[in-house]
């Protein structure tokens, strides 16, 4: 039994998988993930797919907000840009999906640069406002630029083809999305322990001190915007492929709030937290749907006002987490782990 977390080298301290046990658990998880869609029905696979796509988006926002400390209310707009770029590249320009997806992500990342550069002078609440304004403008452009986006009628996205096989059911999508999610997580995790990641954390903790210590603020803030919107573009693209039909209604202003809620509920500045948060926020409505099915006869309000109940649960989750567990599910997870590790002693 381990009595503490002792490291003898920096290499061990920055390793991604710190102990042999974590490696074993990870291997078990990979095996479980490969067999998961075969015993889970299409519905469960569908929910997990949505959560996985949301995970990519949440990772992106966590890089910008959780690690670099730049609060953005415009993440939903980047997701929309990614989704529409993918749709236009695939449907109109005829790109294959393995080309359309990265190109769309790059387009989104470039739009992130466009927002990032003027935001260099803005801080805190003023940045919140300018990103909110940006997402209103993006929504307006999507609705009004009918020649490109088909306006409010929306546009269809052809299913991706992989060696001649169309990926058009939940299980096939699961095997398309999961490797991308795993790569996205590994990339983010690796990025955080490099020079770039440490610069971001320094900016988050105190931007002036970071600048004094020689961190190029402008460069790293813009990099953060770039990487974050690249992730958003990937998530948007996968989302467009998955739901096959996108319209401005899929990307409301509140989408950015959903993503902020994910990283707050999951845990700010944590890769694993993004996963927890994305799962929680995606599965919350499904959980309420199950509750509505079970308790619907005795509490008809759950069925009649399903939408409002859903919205209220979401709002309450944000408030309760912020007041009682500001470190999110990840923080709770760490506390639980430490509790079991050090039991019966409290320290």
């Amino acid at each position: 039994m381990t009595s503490g977390d002792f490291k003898t080298s920096y290499k061990a301290d920055t390793a991604i998988f710190q102990t042999i046990w974590i490696k074993l658990w990870m291997a078990g998880l990979v095996v479980f993930m490969i067999f998961f869609p075969f015993w889970a029905g299409p519905y469960l696979t569908y929910v997990v797919n949505l959560a996985a796509i949301a995970t990519i988006g949440a990772l992106g926002l966590n890089i910008l907000t959780g690690f670099t400390g730049q609060i953005s209310l415009g993440h939903g707009a980047f997701i929309a840009i990614g989704a529409y770029s993918t749709a236009i590249l695939t449907a109109d320009a005829g790109f294959p999906f393995w080309l359309a997806l990265p190109v769309a992500a790059l387009i989104t990342a470039t739009s992130g640069l466009i927002v990032g550069v003027p935001s260099l002078r803005l801080k805190g609440l003023y940045l919140v406002m300018s990103t909110l304004a940006f997402s209103f403008i993006v929504q307006y452009v999507i609705i009004k630029w009918e020649g490109l986006t088909r306006g409010s009628t929306g546009m269809g996205v052809p299913s991706p083809k992989f060696f001649g096989h169309a990926i058009d059911n939940d299980r096939a999508f699961y095997f398309l999305i999961m490797p991308i999610v795993v790569m996205a997580m590994l990339f983010a995790r690796n990025l955080i322990r490099t020079k770039v990641g440490r610069a971001w954390v320094a900016i988050r903790d105190r931007d002036i001190s970071a600048e004094v210590m020689g961190v190029n603020l402008a460069r790293y803030k813009v990099t953060s915007f770039f990487v974050s919107s690249f992730y958003a573009g990937l998530a948007g693209g996968l989302y467009a492929y998955y739901i096959t039909d996108i319209s401005p209604e899929h990307f409301p202003i509140t989408l950015s709030i959903d993503y902020l809620a994910m990283i707050i509920i999951g845990g700010m500045g944590s890769i694993l937290g993004s996963v927890f948060g994305a799962m929680f926020v995606t599965m919350l409505p499904e959980g309420i749907r199950i509750a509505a099915d079970v308790f619907g006869t005795s509490y008809p309000v759950l069925v009649d006002r399903f939408f409002e109940v859903k919205v209220m649960a979401f709002g309450l989750a944000i408030i309760l987490f912020l007041i009682f567990e500001p470190t999110g599910i990840y923080g709770r997870w760490i506390k639980t782990k430490i509790y079991y590790k050090s039991w019966p002693f409290t320290y």
Partner: protein, 299 residues
């Protein structure tokens, strides 16, 4: 021809000023809370909506006349404001900006769902005492609702200016806004100041909500106008009361002009985003708004 154009312009400007004065009221709500507590209250749109629905219910269900219903709503929102501050916001003192922004968003979400549960997604016509006939100022038509909204906004602002200038509480609030610690040391009850700012902000937003429901329809999209007042507050500088007033009117006029002259170029709806585009442009030139104090940071 020339006079026609001039007339069109004057009409746009006048109606912009009247709507803008309501934006100023909402912006005042943002600025008051921000100055006293450093909280950006993104739930103001929903608080506005709650006041409007509450007043509407008093008038239609309980058959209370307009003016008493209006006053009862103000009392209700005053109580709500104090409760919110005490139960939700006070535990959040000292938390990072993101947490505070998100908790007000969460509050707004909960309020919106409560309103949706009680009143549903219907459009209601607010039974106001205002006559439908527009008032003619020369050749420019102004509706009674708009005019009353403007008069109300100006009255509220004059009352607040006097309050901040002449009452002990008002001076205490300004002192707290300036420096919380020093105000505390001078014997000002900072807790009371914060509670009063929330009270004032919810009351003011209720007033704005009722007038906006009179101008437009009463439905679940009313909170969006609260978001449109945000550019007004930010544009004027988040910590400047005069800035909020000027910003509100400016946004009202500019978005009306954009709607009037640019709508046919972009296929309509320019009015909805004009405020945000203006906001972005101003942020690029003056990152702390037109009248906001530049924060000088020391490590």
């Amino acid at each position: 021809m020339f006079s026609d154009q001039l007339h069109f312009l004057a009409q746009l400007v006048v109606s912009g000023i009247t709507v803008g004065s309501v934006y100023s009221l909402i912006a005042l709500g943002f600025v008051l809370i921000y100055k006293a507590t450093d909280v950006l209250n993104l739930a103001i749109g929903e608080l506005m909506m709650l006041g409007a629905y509450f007043c509407f219910n008093l008038i239609t269900t309980y058959k209370i006349p307009y003016i008493p219903a209006f006053l009862i709503t103000l009392v209700f929102s005053a109580i709500l404001g104090i409760l919110l501050e005490r139960v939700i916001l006070r535990p959040m003192i000292g938390e990072p900006i993101l947490a505070i922004v998100m908790i007000t968003i969460g509050l707004g979400t909960v309020f919106r769902s409560i309103i949706g549960m009680i009143w549903g997604p219907l459009n209601y016509v607010f039974p106001g005492p205002f006559s439908e006939e527009p008032l003619m100022l020369g050749t420019i038509a102004v509706s009674h609702v708009h005019l009353w909204a403007m008069i109300m906004a100006i009255t509220v602002m004059i009352v607040f200016l006097a309050f901040f200038k002449f009452t002990t509480m008002g001076i205490g609030m300004r002192a707290t806004a300036d420096d919380q610690d020093i105000a505390f040391l001078m014997g000002i009850s900072v807790k009371k100041v914060v509670a009063v700012s929330w009270l004032i902000a919810t009351v003011v937003s209720s007033i704005a909500g009722i007038f906006l429901a009179n101008i437009n329809l009463l439905n679940l999209n009313l909170y969006f106008i609260g978001l449109k007042a945000l550019p007004a507050a930010v544009m004027g500088g988040l910590d400047s009361i005069a800035g909020a007033m000027i910003g509100g009117v400016l946004i009202g006029v500019l978005e009306n002009l954009a709607g009037g002259y640019l709508d046919h170029l972009f296929g309509g709806g320019v009015k909805e985003v004009a405020a945000f585009i203006i906001l972005l442009l101003i942020m690029m030139i003056r990152p702390y708004g037109l009248f906001g104090t530049k924060e000088i940071e020391r490590v």
